[in-house]
Amino acid sequence: MDTVTVTLVNKPELIIEAYNITPDAFAGKSLEEIGNLECHEGNHKTALKEFFTITGKAGATAESTKIIVKGDCTRVKRIGQKMSAGEIVIEGNADMYTGGWMLGGKLHVTGNVDAFCGIQMEGGEFIIDGNADNHLGSSYRGDWRGMRGGLIRVGGNAGSDVGTFMIGGTIIIEGNAGIHIATHAEGGTIIVKGNAMSRVGGQMVKGDVYIFGTIDVMMPGFRYIGDVEKEVDGKSATFAHYIGDLGERHPTRKGEVIYGNLYQKI
């Protein structure tokens, strides 16, 4: 695998939309060509080289391209957007839409990310060592097809609206999560190792949510049906098992109604 290192050296006045920092866009290109890839600062259309120094070498394909992003990218949006293969390591923070619409490959952020990261992800692995803000692994506005596949793992906390309209894949949050987890979900798995606030599983049709800590306010639409032993993210524990949201519509399979599952560790 060949590695390209992009380092943010000129900070933008506003923000940068760096939708071309992906293995897909870099693959098969020279450093000069990569530097000339388009990016935007507001209505100022420019090239990556205005902000970044670029060193190393890109692979012939996305699969064989690794990108290391250095410098403070707290105000750099859309890194890894739509990436299909290869690898990106962001050493530090990144802004909105990091890993948005990700299809495959591996994306690792050692710091924090802002809102809308990993939205409508379809595949691959997205690791955030720090915190993630709102709408992690959520859907774009209006789309009923949220996250479909892949894995998102957050080392710290997540904001509100984790996995809205999720239909597949897994989100694991080592810390706490904000309100609205798995709202409108029709599949997928969300694991919160810390505490949840309220509105867990509201309007949920299908899917699994695991909460290891507390839930501030339980949705009235969930019914306790018993305790179960489950292995979750490599560890076994006993959980109180709830089904719901009973107030929402539910499909049937072979004559049996399918509900969303909420497991709270006892």
């Binding site: 619409w101 774009y140 506005r141 209006g142 789309d143 009923w144 519509r249």
Partner: protein, 571 residues
């Protein structure tokens, strides 16, 4: 204004009976003239080896107005990564796929060689909105049809058999809304939807109003012919979209028997049945759902006073929208997607639901086949018009694809056999056994000559007849050397080599290159003074409407570039 001589093109004009022979077309002052009338300053467009037709005329499309706009508003995902980037010569950006922005609507139609679109449904209360959107839809002339099939005035007049009063009211409404024709959607059923109910057959009584859909339809035909309107009633019948509805459709069409057109605009029909595909279903559930296109067309072919448009399902992700409120409610209970509904006081309703016509879904494939079968079974393409009931069965930008399917059995078969359930689809339809391939001449009937005639607008559009608007579409297709690859047909109709609107080149090589003002066409009928109707209107506004009467009628300043068609029935 520039003069043009379009030289050496293969011209298709069903009105003039020109079937691809090489002719020269001349335009001066925005209108067609004899080539001899051109001055020496005329510019020449070389159309040799190309197909030349009059500008396209769309008889039924939902492009402007409140429910279209809800469709835009509530589907941001219809724009995400789906909008084309703005082209350099465009005045404005173009947004959306299934429900495009007004600018994209105008540009896209123009790229396909169309110059006129009839907005399929205008809720009268919302007419200022419709006219605002018309203003912002470039390059295509528009008409808009006020919906009348569930209007409280109409229900009461027709219940009492008061055709004259209903006609006076209709004339008032056309004037108030600057409307064009009488649109009927699920007659009675949409009023019933005010209570969450429906009228499924033409004999189901409308709650409270004591009238049946059959009586409404007959009454509106009589009203229409009494008023001598350019277009016939434009009907979306009861029980749309349900398995087995073809019998209801035939029952509905039979209501036209015994009526003949009464107007000076040259149409032959008294009912235009829109998006007939959605009304041609057999079976009694989605499991044994099948095509009844053949049965429907056996009836339609025998009747001379009917026209229809297809409403071909294009197998896209799209947005359904109709004044058939109960149908959209039914649809959301099937696909569980977001559902918008707008009931309009005293008048109508509307529902909007996104819909994914899946390529691997048997029912959708059968729907696709039915739309094409209707065209292929029809004896007279002048009466059969290409539409997708945009955006209901698919976006209008798929017309070129439909033309490809109609002109090429190979392209139909290729798609048919690629379906996951192709055997089942073949079993439930007739499409595989149909060999017919339509000609460019027939396509010209189905997209301009026939539509203009049915609309009663053949004095303005659809032909190269002298004096008509200088609207021309030149397609990069050589009739003497048609491409072996059907994809080339779709490409040619999708990106016109030239589109001229009122004698101005607005599209060249498939790109927007120019601009010219567009018009709003409406019908003003002079009827005998009717004091009772005037009183009824005042009273209903006072008691039941939520707006005042004098704010309801469109203010003159909100009507843009009007062209009025005057009809005087008092003479």
């Amino acid at each position: 204004m520039a003069e043009y001589l379009i030289k050496n093109g293969h011209v298709f004009d069903p009105i003039l009976g020109i079937k691809g022979e090489v002719h020269n077309i001349a335009i001066r002052d925005g209108k067609f003239v004899e080539p001899s009338a051109l001055t020496s300053s005329a510019k020449t467009i070389d159309a040799s080896g190309k197909t030349v037709m009059a500008g396209g005329v769309d008889i039924h499309s939902h492009v402007v107005g409140p429910k279209v706009n809800v469709g835009r508003l509530f589907r941001p995902e219809d724009k995400l990564f789906k909008s084309p980037l703005r082209q350099p010569k465009n005045a404005r950006m173009e947004m959306g796929f299934s429900v495009p922005s007004t600018f994209k609507t105008g540009y896209d139609y123009s790229r396909m060689g169309y110059c006129f679109v009839n907005e399929a449904a205008m809720p009268p209360l919302h007419s200022p909105h419709v006219h605002e959107e018309i203003r912002d839809t470039p390059l295509i002339d528009n008409t808009a049809m006020p919906v009348l099939g569930n209007n409280w005035f109409m229900l009461e007049y027709l219940k009492n058999g008061e055709i004259e009063n209903n006609a006076a009211y209709t004339a008032w409404l056309l004037h108030a809304t600057k409307g064009f024709a009488i649109k009927v959607v699920n007659p009675g059923g949409t009023e019933a939807w005010g209570w969450g109910l429906n009228c499924v057959t033409i004999n189901d009584p409308v709650p409270h109003f004591n009238i049946t859909p059959a009586e409404i339809i007959k009454g509106l035909i009589e009203t229409n012919e009494y008023l001598r309107l350019p277009h016939s009633i434009h009907l979306h019948g009861n029980n749309i979209g349900n398995p087995g509805n073809y019998t209801d459709t035939i029952d509905t069409l039979k209501l036209a028997e015994g009526y003949s057109p009464n107007c000076d605009f040259g149409r032959d029909q008294v009912i235009h049945n829109t998006h007939l595909q959605f009304h041609s279903y057999g079976g009694d559930s989605w499991l044994n759902f099948e095509s009844k296109a053949k049965e429907i067309m056996e009836y339609v072919n025998r009747q001379k006073n009917l026209t229809f448009d297809l409403g071909v399902v294009t197998l896209d992700e799209t947005t359904t929208m109709t004044a058939d409120g109960p149908f959209e409610h039914h649809l959301q209970s099937l696909n569980h997607l977001k559902w918008a509904n707008v009931d309009v006081e005293l008048e109508t309703a509307a529902g909007i639901v996104p819909y994914v016509y899946g390529k691997d879904v048997k029912v959708c494939n059968i729907q696709w086949a039915i739309g094409l079968e209707l065209a292929l079974f029809c004896n007279d393409p002048m009466r059969s018009h290409i539409t997708t009931d945009h955006p209901n069965a698919g976006p209008f930008i798929r017309y070129p694809r439909i033309i490809k399917w109609l002109m090429s059995k190979a392209s139909r078969d290729e798609l048919l056999h690629s379906f996951k359930w192709s055997e089942k689809v073949i079993g439930a339809t007739n499409i595989e056994s149909i060999d017919r391939e339509m000609s460019l001449y027939e396509i010209a009937m189905m997209t301009r000559a026939g539509t203009a005639k049915a609309l009663g607008l053949s004095h303005m559009y659809g032909s190269f007849t002298e004096g008509l608007a200088g609207n021309v579409a030149i397609y990069d297709l050589d009739p003497e050397n048609m491409p072996s690859d059907p994809e080339m047909i779709e490409k040619a109709f999708g990106r016109a080599a030239y589109t001229l609107k009122d004698g101005v080149i607005v599209v060249k090589d498939g790109d927007i290159v120019g601009d010219t003002p567009k018009s709003t066409i409406w019908v003003n009928v002079k009827v005998p003074e009717n004091k009772q109707v005037a009183r009824d209107v005042s009273e209903k506004f006072l008691r039941y409407y939520s707006v005042n009467k004098d704010n309801y009628s469109l203010f003159e300043e909100h009507l843009h570039n009007p062209k009025v068609i005057e009809v005087d029935i008092t003479a």
